[in-house]
Structure formats: C-alpha cells, structure tokens
Amino acid sequence: MAIDLNTLKIPGPTITAQTKPFWDASAEGRLTIQHCEDCGKAIFYPRPICPHCWSKRLLWKDASGRGRLKSFSEVHKPGHPGWLPAAPYVVGLVELVEGSTMLSFILAGTRPLQIGAMLLFAPTAIGGRVLPAFKPVEPGQEEKPK
C-alpha cells in the first residue's frame, strides 16, 4: 500500500467508559479483552455482562494476540469515502485463540491471503490513532498456536 494509513481522514471508534480499557490498551500497543470468571469464556466486544452466562464477574486480560483468519474481503469501493485513498485494502474476521472473534484491518503479507491463515496482532497507526490491526504470520516466523 502506497499511502500512509495514518493520514486517512476516517471515523474513529465511539469510545465509552465501558470500552475505554480496550482502546486505551490498543493505543499502548496491547490487545486486551474481557474474560468471564464464571464460564471461562473470552468476550469480544466489551460488555457489562457475559453474553454466554450473564455473569458480571468479568476481568480484563491481555490476549495472546494470535488468531486465525475466518474470512476476509479486499475492499475496492469503501463504504466511507475517507477510506478511498487506501483502497484496495483488506478487512477480515479474526478468531482469537482465546475464542472470540473480532473484525479488523489486515496488513499485507508477502503471500496471498487465505482463510485459515494464522495472524498476529499488529497495532498500527490508522487515521491518527493506533488500532488493533493484524498481519499474517510469515513462513518460518512462528510456531503453531498453543
């Protein structure tokens, strides 16, 4: 991609007190998500109750930053005009090894992207803020996920 993603004039996240720990961590280059102390499941996106068991005993924990690409799309005609200078760019569904799935920006790797590819958390300056993007694991770069 030729352009600097950080120069994009795009809508940022609409952060609330509930979601601030996620975005604050992201700004520091960390990926943190909620975990339910009662059912043990990981939760994305942040909520006041666990969507699996409705427990309120939720803890923020840093995630491994490893995930699997469930699907992706190369966006040629963005839904928001602010993204036009970056097109085509790739968004994907990332299933974190913790179990929850998030949508994210997928940075280009050296090989064509494939569903099932292993991804790594790659905090990236996009539109004037650091967003929790992901990048493909390159051959020889990584062992198998735990």
């Binding site: 996240p13 609409t14 994305f44 996106y45 190369e74 966006v75 005609k77 839904g79 949508l103």
Partner: protein
C-alpha cells in the same frame, strides 16, 4: 396442510426510482397504502391495525402515530417492525397474530422510502459503529463479501456459481416492466465483468438502492372470503434473530433462516420441495445461495450444482424471484423485503400476467436483515 392463520387481501407497490427529489417517505407511504387498500376493495376506515418500519432520519420516534395521523387512521393495534429486510415478512405474521389475539381485524403493513441525492450519514453509536467502522468496514457490502468468501473457502463454490444467481434474477426482471433492470440483461460473464466492489462481490451481485414502497393488507380468513380478490393464506411462519455484526455471527455459511424456514414448513405441514414459487430475499447473490441450502433444497455447499439442474424462470421447474428479485427489481430499502411478499401474492392469485407460473398453490417467502442476522420465513397458500 394447516388452516389459514390469516389472509393477505390487498397489495400495493410503487415503481422503483433511482432518486427522488423533495418527496418525503410519508408521502410515499400514503401512495402505496392507498393502492393496497383499493386492491383489497376496502374503505380506509376498515383498517384498524398498522405495522410500519423504522424511519431513520425523517421520523426517529412515534412512527406509527405519525403515519396513522397522516393517513387519517385510528388503529387499535400499531407498532414498528424493525427487522431490516425481514421486516416485510415479519409484519405479515405479526398482523395475523394480532388479529388472532382479538386486537384488530384488518392490518395495513407498509414500508416505503424516498432516496435523496444527499442522504445523511448514519448517526449510529452502537457496537458496529465502534468495532467495525474504524477498521474500514462500513456498510453491508463488506459483511456479505466476508460471508461469500467463507462459503467459497468452505465448499469450493466459485465466482460463476454466484454470478449465475444475479444472471437469473436479471433474466426474470425482463418480464417485469417496473424492475430497475428491465431492458438490461447480464449473463454470467457480464456479472463477473462488472466492477469488483469488495472481493469476491461484483457490482451486479449487489442490489441497487432505489426509492419505492410496498404495502399489504392482512385480515382474518373469515373476513377475507367476502372481499373482492382471492385471498392468499398465511399457512406457516418462522423467525429467528441471532446477531448484528458479522463478527458475532454463529456461522458464516448458514443463517437463522434455516430454523425460521423449518418452523414455517412445520407449521404449514409442507416442505421446501412442495413450493411452487421460491420468493427468496436476495440482497446479494450469497444470500440466495445460503437460503437455498438452508431450506434443504440441496446439500450445504451444493447450490451451484442445484442452479445448473433447475430453471428459475416462471416457466421453469423451480421459479425463483419471478419479479426479478431485488437484484433485478432494485432495493427500496426496507420495502425491498416486502417485494417478495407482494410477488408471491400476485402469483398465488394468478395475477402475474406474462410471468405467471403454472401451478401456483404454495410459495415460500423469506426475509433477511442486517448481516444474515434477522430472518423471517412465510409459507403462503392460494385460496
């Protein structure tokens, strides 16, 4: 087969337009409501139930009261049905249920939208806005592209398999002079040659947004017998809502329509193979593919072969979206889902003219909203 749960006795439809100028959605609701009530042969005063859609921007709140006042109605049951593309089908069973509950006798179900050149951007403050939009994933195209890519990876379905759905819709639209693609055909190659919007979705695999309106009048089966048009009976319905953001979808290759259709078939004592018309929600080609598979018309992943084996035209063995579907007709926002109800009523009445199917006893109508999230299925039967 089961007894009628209620009957559709009137339909109205506005010809879709690419853009409107200085026309409000309320005006369009009035025009299309009048058509449906006239078609039913009823006086406006006979309408004592009102189901409407949300109206982002124009009337954020008090929508039923605003519309009732505008139309001069005083309904004894009024509500908003907010299920995206499933709203139209969702209205039909809710109308029948409200009548059965004794709340009203004759319900107007209406959806319409204007389409001005400078529509305001969404004022949303919800999880989609916070966790999808900042990554460059605004709008439904990307969500359905993700569903389509996942189907291709899981089953090996191909770009031409999907393009064939759009080509069939546009072919059917050639018998509907109101369709936005009337006079404009595209074969599989032409669909694949249309611009890539969000891979693997091409432009012609995506509905064209238009202005328009659709309305139906639902009453009790008893009352329907005395009205001027042959009633179309609601024999079964099903609904399911699972998520909103595509990242939260329980499956990328099967949707909530699967259980909604199963319930509709069970209630009506029918099955997918018994349907004479498939009126399937088609915002994108992938939606038809998944619905055909979820209905059990073919095995999961096999829609491509199924398409090759069947003729989807009005003369064919599996007529599918004889009005051109929304891919051929255009998508008048939430009213787009209701086009599938209105066309099914035309066919089951024997009023579809040049595109009338042969045997027209049973129709499956599906509605789908958001990102394969909101699902309603109806089984309709001829009088």
């Amino acid at each position: 087969m089961s007894r009628s749960k209620g009957s559709i006795v009137g339909i109205g439809e506005l010809k879709p337009q690419r853009l409107t100028q200085g026309v409000t959605t309320l005006q369009m609701i009035a025009e299309v409501s009048r058509l449906a009530v006239l078609d039913a042969g009823l006086e406006p005063a006979a309408i004592d139930g009102l189901l409407v859609g949300p109206q982002v921007g124009e009337t954020p709140q008090h929508v039923p009261a605003t519309i009732a006042e505008y139309l001069g109605l005083a309904p004894t049951m009024a509500n908003v049905v907010d299920l995206g593309g499933a709203s139209g089908a969702g209205m039909v069973w809710r109308a029948a249920a409200a009548i059965e509950a004794g709340m009203c006798e004759t319900v107007l179900c209406v959806l319409a939208n204007n389409r001005e050149e400078t529509a305001p951007r969404s004022p949303n403050r919800n999880p989609i806005r916070e966790f999808d939009v900042p990554f460059g994933a605004s709008g439904a195209n990307i969500s359905y592209a993700l569903l389509m890519q996942a189907h291709m990876a899981e089953y090996g379905s191909t770009a031409p398999d999907f393009a064939a759905i759009a080509a069939a819709a546009l072919a059917n639209a050639q018998l509907n002079p109101d369709a936005i693609f009337y006079g404009k055909v595209a074969d599989v190659d032409a669909v694949l040659a249309s611009p890539m919007i969000a891979s693997p979705l091409h432009l012609l695999e995506i509905v064209m947004p238009v202005a328009g309106g659709e309305a139906v009048v639902v009453t009790s089966a008893d009352r329907a017998r005395s009205l001027r048009k042959p009633p179309v009976h609601l024999l079964g319905a099903g609904e399911k809502v699972t998520h909103r953001a595509v990242s939260q979808a329980p499956s990328l290759t099967s949707g909530p329509l699967k259980s909604a259709m199963a319930r509709a078939f069970h209630q009506s004592g029918t099955d997918a193979d018994a349907m004479d018309l498939l009126s399937l929600y088609d915002c994108y080609t992938i939606m038809v593919a998944t619905t055909v598979e979820d209905a059990g018309l073919c095995a999961p992943g096999q829609f491509g072969a199924w398409l090759c084996d069947h003729d989807l035209s009005h003369k064919g063995d599996k007529p599918l979206n004889t009005h051109g579907g929304q891919l051929g007709f255009g998508q008048p926002d939430l009213a787009g889902g209701m086009t599938h109800v209105v066309e099914a009523v035309r066919q089951l009445r024997g009023e579809a003219g040049e595109r009338q199917i042969g045997k027209a006893g049973l129709a499956l109508v599906t509605g789908n909203g958001a990102t394969m999230s909101e699902a309603t299925a109806l089984v309709l039967g001829a009088a």
